[in-house]
Amino acid sequence: MKHKSIFAILLLMLGIGGYCGYRYYRDDVLPEKIIDETHDEQIKLFERVKPETGEKPLSNEETNDPLKPAEEVNDAVVGWITIEGTHIDFPICQAQDNDFYLHNGFDGRYNNELGCPFLDYRCESDFSGFNSIVYGHHMTRQRMFADIALFKDTAYLQSHRKGTLTLNDGVHNVDFFAYMNVKNTAPAYHAVFVSDSEKEEYIDYIFSDAVYILNYSADDLKRNDDLHLLLLSTCTYEFTDARGILIGIIE
């Protein structure tokens, strides 16, 4: 009798264990596998349309518009961001809202929520505004914009300070200098600047709320009449609705 009870309990636990294993596969392993496959496909596509800016000479058409190969796939592409030594090497699209490219890939098709980095719809599509905010998913295995969270460590930024932003008119260097860890509704996401005083307030805000700032003072930025900031934003998990923002100057 006693043996039978123990045997029954063991069977029950094995059953529950089996169910947990199934749920783990269904909820964790399978999506990861699907995302993995989708990610691989997307990376292949990126490699095919990536602007060839350094290694081989550009054709005339590409010289005029380095984004042309990417535009042939999706004319909503507005730029290409690269940070050497990281996984960040992506096209940037822009839609009429901040939702479309959360769920759809560079080719505009649903891609299992992998999305594609995108420029805030309120920002100037040629990055000529005072600030340009680019969003991307924080994925496992350092995919998409996951590397942004690594910049919370000053040492990481110091070794990955330089990036490039390829636009229709050519390649622009980006000098990253600050990292912010803020809520998703923080003033950092302000994108409409009308007056100089408002821009100065925004600079002061960055300098007061950033996790750290390298190499620049607020006055340096305020003195720059042609300042264009690039903000790369992704979710982080330090607190509810936390966001990590890497900030650079487009040169």
Binding site: D27, D28, R122, H137, Y189, V192, C235
Partner: protein, 259 residues
């Protein structure tokens, strides 16, 4: 007779009224996200109770028969009566028309203050320490319940604009000062000017922070469940094993006694 210290009698009035469609000359392009006019319960109201048109953001400043040397002022209270959102309020100036023999656009000085802090001095048409017809002025951020006062004063203080005016008026010197004397001492000249302020607010009403959360599932729940079950099962098996061994030991110890 009485030499009037500058140009005389005048009925002056500052008329504020909302009318439709006046000619607009300004070339100010509103930035993306800025809405011309003021959203509901974002209010601009002068001391006479005249409010800025919420649809167009227009507030008219009309001066007729301006008297030389008299300062005309207007206080406009800017208020955010909403309880949900903060807004930036901006304004700029559009000259509308001038009329009469005297070019009041040039003869008047206009000063703006925000909460007592002077930020503009120049002509009524917006050309001063900066060009209010082309550059918008940021009246600040208005959190729910915030209120600020925009004050404007206009004074006709330049006699040079009378040069060339030929309607019987003449300038004479009295005690070293230029004084305008009208024909038959009437002292009237016709002058009228109107300009309007355009208010607007920058809003982020449609902004919804994108959820760029971790998709590649970092869900440890099921793994924890499996681990707990494995520990429990292992524990039970160990328990059974030890019990069984205990029984075997008891059997072993019991054997000699039996023999």
């Amino acid at each position: 007779m009485i030499a009037k210290r500058l140009f005389a009698t005048m009925v002056s009035s500052l008329l504020l009224f909302n009318t439709v469609s006046m000619t607009a000359f300004a070339e100010v392009a509103l930035p993306d996200g800025a809405v011309k006019g003021l959203p509901e319960r974002l209010t601009a109201m002068d001391s006479d109770g005249n409010v800025v048109s919420s649809d167009t953001g227009e507030y008219f400043f009309h001066v007729e028969n301006m008297q030389y040397g008299t300062t005309y002022t207007k206080d406009v209270q800017l208020m955010n009566l909403r309880d949900d959102k903060a807004y930036h309020i901006y304004f700029y100036v559009e000259p509308l028309f001038k009329n009469g023999e005297i070019d009041l656009e040039k003869g008047c000085e206009c000063t703006f203050w925000l909460d007592g802090q002077e930020f503009y001095k120049g002509t009524v048409t917006g050309e001063g320490n900066f060009d209010l017809t082309k550059e918008v002025y940021d009246c600040g951020l208005y959190n729910p319940g915030d209120s600020h006062t925009l004050k404007c004063s206009v004074i006709w203080n330049d006699l040079d604009v009378l040069v060339g005016v030929d309607n019987g008026h003449r300038l004479i010197d009295i005690n070293g000062e230029h004084v305008l004397v009208g024909s038959q001492d009437s002292g009237y000249v016709e002058g009228e000017i109107e300009f309007k302020w355009i208010f607007y607010a920058a809003v982020d009403e449609n902004y919804d922070p994108p959820k760029t959360g971790l998709l590649g599932v970092n869900n440890t729940f099921w793994i924890i469940c499996i681990a707990v079950l494995a520990v429990l099962t292992g524990g039970m098996l160990l328990l059974v094993f030890f019990k069984k061994r205990e029984k075997q030991k008891e059997k072993m110890h019991g054997k000699p006694d039996e023999t």
